[in-house]
């Protein structure tokens, strides 16, 4: 039994202990343990993020079945072009982030900074487009609670001649659609803002050469976060913009 006992914490190597690298924290035996630990921790954090967005997706699913025409009409008010561009932008940013992680793994300092800066730029483009969309919603009175009117749903909208106006009771329910739209994209945008802020810190640290001397777990873990935010959008895009388009 003893010989088969599996340890997750290796027996301390005293020779190595004497000159361990500065980024090895005292309570880890070696770098490998430290890296696996922090990656696992990051995954657990993403687990909580799944459940965080999960509540919203659950609400979306239920209300879409209840108020199907309102959700169709609501989604027709979104710009599929902007949504598609934003999806592409986010996928690009995921790619640049992945390349950044690769650069860090290869210990290339300048490419790392370059890829991170590209990711920041793409993140900002995404947020900018999102701001344009939000602004449009405000102007069209589609912000529930603050600035909402059912006008564009009870009258024939000249921009969407194929849409029949909704009866008033169903038009009122578009508020639920837009509430969820703002809650979901808002939470997602908040994650993007946090991501971009963290990226700026990463760039500064990368500039100082922190990730190119063999310790790049931070970059890798941030990459996980960034890709997760991308995945959320990959689901938000079809759910909010696309699935009612054909009607």
């Amino acid at each position: 039994m003893d010989s088969q006992a599996i340890a997750t914490q290796p027996v301390e190597d005293h020779a190595e202990h004497a000159h361990h690298p500065p980024y090895l924290r005292h309570h880890f035996a070696n770098l490998e343990q430290q890296k696996e630990t922090s990656t696992f921790g990051m995954w657990l954090f993403l687990l909580t993020e799944i459940m965080f967005f999960g509540g919203l997706f659950c609400a979306y699913l239920i209300y879409r079945n209840w108020y199907y025409p309102a959700f169709v009409a609501g989604s027709h008010q979104l710009s599929i072009l902007l949504g598609a561009i934003n999806t592409a932008v986010l996928i690009c940013s995921s790619f640049t982030m992945a390349m950044g992680v690769h650069a860090a793994e290869m210990r290339w300092r300048k490419p790392l900074i370059g890829w991170l800066l590209a990711t920041i730029a793409l993140g900002c483009v995404f947020l900018g487009i999102k701001a344009v969309e939000y602004n449009e919603k405000w102007e069209k009175h589609h912000v529930p609670g603050l600035n909402f009117s059912v006008d564009s749903f009870v009258h024939q909208d000249p921009h969407y001649p194929e849409d029949k106006p909704l009866p008033l009771d169903m038009a009122e329910k578009t508020q639920v659609y837009f509430s969820l739209y703002f809650a979901m994209t808002g939470m997602h945008a908040l994650h993007m803002v946090i991501g971009v802020s963290l990226l700026i810190i990463l760039v500064v640290r990368a500039w100082q050469g922190a990730y190119t001397q063999g310790h790049m777990t931070t970059v890798e873990n941030f990459g996980l976060y960034w890709h997760f935010v991308d995945i959320v959008w990959i689901f938000l895009f079809p759910l909010l913009y696309l699935i009612s388009r054909h009607q």
Binding site: Y67, L166, P167, D169, M170, E172
Partner: protein, 363 residues
């Protein structure tokens, strides 16, 4: 008894006169609920006594003074299986029994008389079909199943009668129902048990169970003159419902006579039963209750009719068994509307119209 302080003495007297372990068993459901309760108490006692006996017995037998040497035991699959399976079996009995009771409490018999209840911060309003209104009290006849159709105007409330062992959440925007059959004359507590704001503890009332004859007398004595259905008929006319739901072959809306509790086909092909909730929702959210074969032209009445008004309408449609009076009304209205403004849209105006033309609804 001068050596006992008067306060304490009062307390003791209170104890002796008011001590009870159970509320009165005043409904047909109560004995069933109590039976399950006694069963659960019994298995709890057995379980508790067993655990206490084990703990106390082992503590006595194997205390250090008696048993200085501990004997290491890994476990026993047989024993562990025993205390997995036996509790599981008991819990399953509790589940099945509880489920049966649940469906007994929440499935009203078909012959139940219906009373409507509206909950709002912080009062209960009961409306009898005969038009009797009560605040924070409810009079019901002995030995007759009574079904309550309840709705809240604002927040969650909960309608609870401990003596009947029934309780149901009263929620905004949706009818919920509960039923009971009183078996004992008397006055019982009515509580709101869902926390509903500042005066939650004042949202209480009394349930008065009366002999059928007394109940008849009470109904006679406290009627407001108009039954709910009559109120509903007025509202029906003043909101202009009869313009489309006239029952004629060419009408734009479905015929409502005897529609209650029938199965109707919806525009998406599914079938729905026309119950109270369906009627109410159809008035407020007609688009979601689109019947097959009709155009989606009905406007919503959301925000135009109070919950009481909706109850009147629902009660009217429930009792509607011919379209004769509707058509009569329609003719009168057409004459009237040439003089007066066309179909008023709010309840206030509706009542006004009803006052100005009292003969309108009378054939």
């Amino acid at each position: 008894m001068h050596f006992i302080s008067p306060v304490l003495w009062q307390f003791l007297v209170n104890w002796l006169t008011h001590f009870a372990l159970f509320p009165p068993e005043a409904s047909s459901i109560a004995p069933h609920a109590d039976a399950l309760y006694f069963f659960l108490v019994a298995i709890s006692l057995v379980g508790l006594v067993l655990v206490l006996a084990l703990v106390a017995g082992f503590s006595f037998l194997y205390r250090k003074e008696r048993n200085p040497e501990a004997t290491q035991i890994e476990g026993s699959t047989l024993l562990e299986a025993t205390w997995t399976i036996i509790p599981l079996a008991l819990f399953m009995v509790a589940f099945v029994w509880g489920a049966l009771l649940y469906f007994r409490i929440y499935n009203p018999p078909t012959n139940a008389m219906n009373i409507y209840v509206v909950g709002k911060q912080w009062m209960w309003k009961a409306e009898h079909p005969g038009g009797q209104h009560e605040i924070n009290s409810l009079h019901i006849p002995l030995g007759r199943p009574v079904q309550l159709t309840m709705i809240s105007q604002d927040v969650f409330h909960s309608f609870s009668i401990p003596a009947f062992r029934v309780k149901r959440e009263v929620i905004p925007g949706r009818y919920t129902t509960v039923w009971f059959e009183a078996t004992q004359e008397g006055t019982y507590h009515l509580f709101c048990t869902q926390y509903c704001g500042t005066l939650h503890s004042q949202m209480i009332g009394t349930i008065t169970v009366m002999k059928p004859a007394d109940y008849e007398a009470w109904t006679e004595g406290s009627t407001s003159g108009m039954s709910l259905a009559q109120n509903g008929e007025r509202l029906y006319a003043s909101l202009g419902c009869n313009a489309c739901h006239s029952g004629s072959a060419t009408a734009r809306g479905p015929n409502l006579a005897e529609v209650y509790m029938t199965k109707v086909q919806m525009s998406n092909g599914s079938y729905s039963t026309v119950d109270d909730a369906f009627l109410r929702d159809s008035i407020l959210n007609p688009t979601m209750h689109q019947m097959a074969g009709y155009a989606p032209i009905m406007p919503t009445y959301q925000g135009q009719i109070s919950e009481e008004g909706l109850i009147d309408l629902v009660e009217y449609i429930k009792k509607l068994n011919s379209n004769y009076r509707i058509q009569q009304t329609l003719n009168t209205t057409q004459v009237q509307s040439s003089v007066q403004s066309p179909a008023p849209s709010t309840q206030g105006r509706a009542q006004q119209a009803a006052q100005t033309a009292p003969g309108m609804v009378k054939p």
